[in-house]
Amino acid sequence: MRALVDWERFEPGSLGWFYRLLGLTLLARIATDLHVDLWAVHDGRLFPWRHLPGLPLYPPAGLAIEWAMMGLAALAITTGFRLRAGVYLALLVSAVSLTQRYANHRALLLLVLAFLALSPVEPRRPGLSGERHPNLALIRYQLVIVYLFSALNKVRAGFLEGTALQHLLDLDAEPARALAWLVVAAEFSLPLLLWRLPWLGLGGVACLHLGFALFMPAIWPFSLLMLAMAVLFVGDTRDPGALPLAGADAVGHNCS
């Protein structure tokens, strides 16, 4: 048996990849906004899709500033140059952009950035793997919450019948039902896999979200964000103070 995982410890390598993927998520956010023609929403040609009532929709110039700030933040987070400033800027821009168009995955990005902003950690800092970072642990917990509640909500709403996927993806009934079961099974099992077999779990997350993004191109940023969050599970984050289980260490085996 594997020793207890310490959810507050992180490997520098996986943290570095988390930041790169987070930066990529922000860039994908801008690319997706351009692709779906969000500009036309702000100049009044298209319906203000998902705009929260009561909040003013800013003009196209505001959108251009939003994209520029988001791009700067992405650059800082990806390269690690002015990392803290990049995290705070990304948090601010995400919060403002949520007033213009609400979507669950945009709210998730805001949450992740808020957790990160509590104490941004440099991945290259010496001694990182020995430190505890509860704010980053919140991101791990958030991933578990997203998958479990998404799966439960799907079961409750009758998603397993497959009709939602039939309508959204123009599929026949049988493949749609099979796909629906596969998605829900994956969402239930991925948190466990990430905890016990992180590399396998990471592969599962990549496959699931690549599939989502291929069918629904507008959610590429969500797919990248979930991948970034999943990367945080990779690496040996066992609690060095935990007791070995079932004598695994006694016979010198490393079953992690």
Partner: protein
């Protein structure tokens, strides 16, 4: 997301009886999943192109809503 999604294929016509595709007034990859959204988008089209009003929108129940020029948000069922 997308736990449930009804098939929404609204029928919407301008004053001359020409079909108006509501999807043309949405950002790319936006999914229409309920009729409340449809009515808001129809009102948007009516406000934006009043010269094509009155518009007629068929609700899910088969009821027709007429969107009049100048009062597109106050659509009245007929």
């Amino acid at each position: 997301m997308f736990e449930s999604a009804a098939r929404v294929e609204p029928r919407f016509e301008d004053a001359r009886g020409r079909a108006v595709a509501l999807r043309d007034y949405l950002p790319r990859h936006a999914y229409l999943t309920d009729f409340k959204q449809v009515e808001r988008i129809a009102a948007f089209v009516c406000q934006r192109e009043p010269e094509r009003a009155p518009f007629r929108l068929w609700r899910a129940e088969g009821e027709v809503v007429v969107l009049l020029p100048g009062s597109c948000l106050n659509a009245r069922p007929r």
